[in-house]
């Protein structure tokens, strides 16, 4: 059976683990700063202050 040695795991974590986190970071930054998302974010942050206390339905 194929065995994963300690060294293989370390090498994998140090290379692909790092790339995966960096890639993930870039995706999150892109999402947060994507210009067309600005409107939904602004709406979300102010709409919770609306005092109407009823569901939409």
């Amino acid at each position: 059976m194929f065995e994963i040695s300690h060294e293989t795991l370390v090498a994998f974590a140090k290379s692909w683990g790092l790339f995966y986190l960096m890639g993930f970071f870039l995706c999150v930054v892109a999402y947060a700063f994507w210009p067309s998302n600005r409107k939904r974010f602004d709406r979300a942050k102010t709409s919770i202050l609306d005092r109407e206390d009823k569901p939409w339905k």
Binding site: R40, K45, D50, R51, K54, P55, K57
Partner: protein
């Protein structure tokens, strides 16, 4: 409670409770004299007690109004009552065990009241009982308001709430009987763990279905934190509690994880319990109740998204910092240490975001103790995350680990951050939920605030002192290389700090009792808010960004 349910929902509730009672009976029969048998009786009594209101209200008229046109607040109200009941219980147990360390005679020579059995009743009582009920109650409130949709279930919110409390009762009563898995924050045994999985999956489905009902285009960030809390706690709980019971009739089980893997899984669980139970969910509270109370939108919505993903992905890797200088491979320790230091970035982003939201409204923080609770919580969150990152550095850990410094750090977070944000949220939530003009007494909120702050500071300073003294005494060598102090020497040196700690905790407990009284009197005697007042649009919202 029962009036809100249709007759088929009442039948379903009764069937579930009868089933639970049957399971309790089976546990009692197979468990006999084992603690499992006692827990069977507890399950039976718990389901029977809940069955009573269901059956007495069974033939009440069905709800006629359109239930979808209003929010489902009854489970939240009961959740708040349970939150405060567990707060008083858990904090009282904390004061008791703290006093036992200073005056060991307070164990009264009984098995059930020894330190080892009482301590987990404190930790589970405050974390799961107080914190868990607060999270369930506020998440039900926040998800409905931010989605502008009623909870997607009539019976399931009750199932989640009472099911979770049954878990807490089984856990705490088990410790007194001597039942434990010996895993920190996961002491409850296999049958309670299986039950919690069922409850938790129901909670997750309910939450997702409610969000799916929203009309808002975007899911407000507080719900992301609550969802991360629910999802990750489920994963952690299942993986860490994989165990094989010795038999169906015994409470005892053995974990499937061997040796150092077990240690790693336990602290991966333990630290993420701090991250996702005690942080993510409470950040959900912060991101909703703080802007609402301050009547100002969050300073930067983008920053809240960045810090969400930062916290979610960094915390997962930080657990191994609990195992510095152990048999765990060195690189895994280093990995945990590095991620713990990196965690400071998203943590301070959240704390800073909260404080910058208040920037420009400091006069309100000065006048309104409720808002001040949340401000102080954000400050303690910033302080304790800094301290945590610092303590995770291996050489610092060499001094701090196994000492009271760790206990002080946990309480800076648990009292200063978790409890303060909860009280701030409750003082915001209670008047709105019961449709009251305000809390019964602003002065008592003020008293509670200062009791809580004084208690936390006394506690944390006592533990910093005792922890560092302990750490230094344990590593002081004589000229010929022997240890300069015995363990008992260090214990004697702790005596004044243990008294101070018990006193700090006592102040905090008194504050919680004051809070209970204030909530009770608000519900009982404060006049109803006028309809019109609740419908006026928000005061001009000042954009913070």
């Amino acid at each position: 409670m029962i009036r809100q349910l249709t007759s088929s929902e009442r039948q379903f509730a009764a069937a579930i409770l009868l089933l639970a009672a049957g399971v309790g009976l089976a546990m009692a029969a197979t468990g006999r004299h084992d603690p499992l048998g006692v827990h069977g009786v507890i399950v039976l009594l718990f389901s029977g007690t809940l069955l009573y209101p269901v059956l007495t209200g069974f033939y009440e008229p069905e709800p006629k109004e359109d239930r979808e046109a209003s929010y489902y607040d009854d489970p939240i109200k009961v959740g708040i009552v349970l939150t405060m009941a567990w707060a008083v219980f858990g904090m009282f147990m904390g004061v008791w065990v703290a006093a036992q360390l200073a005056w060991p005679d307070l164990a009264f020579d009984a098995a059930w009241s020894t330190f080892g059995r009482l301590r987990p009743t404190h930790t589970s009582g405050v974390i799961f009982g107080f914190g868990g009920n607060a999270l369930i109650a506020t998440s039900f409130h926040v998800v409905q308001r931010t989605s502008r949709a009623r909870l997607a279930g009539q019976f399931s919110p009750w199932f989640v709430l009472f099911g979770f409390n049954l878990f807490c009762v089984l856990a705490v009563s088990g410790y007194l009987l001597g039942v434990t898995q010996s895993k920190e924050y996961a002491e409850a045994e296999w049958y309670a763990d299986i039950w919690l999985v069922i409850v938790w999956v129901t909670y997750f489905v309910l939450f997702l279905r409610t969000i799916a009902r929203r009309r808002e285009p975007h899911i407000y960030v507080a719900n992301w934190y609550f969802m991360a809390f629910i999802v990750v706690v489920a994963i952690l709980h299942i993986v860490n509690n994989l165990a094989v019971p010795v038999s169906w009739g015994h409470a005892k089980s053995y974990t499937i994880w061997p040796g150092v893997q077990d240690a790693m899984v336990q602290w991966w669980y333990g630290h993420n319990a701090v991250a996702f139970f005690l942080t993510a969910g409470f950040l959900g509270m912060l991101y909703y109740y703080l802007p609402v109370r301050a009547q100002r939108p969050i300073f930067s919505y983008r920053l809240s998204i960045l810090s969400f993903w930062g916290i979610t992905f960094f915390y997962m890797w930080a657990g191994s910092h609990h195992l510095h200088y152990t048999a765990l491979p060195h690189w895994v320790q280093t990995l945990g240490m590095t991620f713990s230091v990196m965690l400071l970035v998203p943590s301070w982003a959240s704390a800073g975001n909260a404080l910058l939201t208040l920037n420009g409204a400091w006069h309100r923080v000065r006048d309104d103790a409720t808002l001040r609770f949340m401000m102080a919580a954000a400050v303690f969150y910033g302080l304790s995350t800094f301290e945590g990152s610092f303590m995770a550095i291996r050489p610092v850990n060499a001094l701090s680990h196994y000492t009271d410094w760790t206990v002080g750090h946990v309480h800076a977070g648990a009292l200063g951050w978790v409890a303060l944000i909860t009280f701030g949220s409750l003082y915001t939530l209670v008047p709105t939920l019961w449709n009251r003009e305000r809390m019964y007494s602003a002065r008592l909120v003020e008293v509670h605030f200062w009791l809580a702050i004084a208690g936390t500071l006394i506690y944390v300073f006592a533990m910093w002192n005792s922890g560092i003294i302990q750490g230094l005494m344990w590593r002081t060598y004589t000229e010929d290389g022997a240890l300069a102090y015995s363990f008992v020497d260090s214990l004697v040196a702790m005596y004044p700090y243990y008294i101070a700690r018990a006193f700090g905790g006592f102040l905090f407990l008194i504050g919680a009792v004051v809070c209970c009284y204030n909530i009770w009197m608000t519900v009982r005697s404060v006049p109803l808010a006028k309809r019109r007042e609740r419908d006026v649009p928000a005061a001009v919202a000042v954009p913070g960004e």
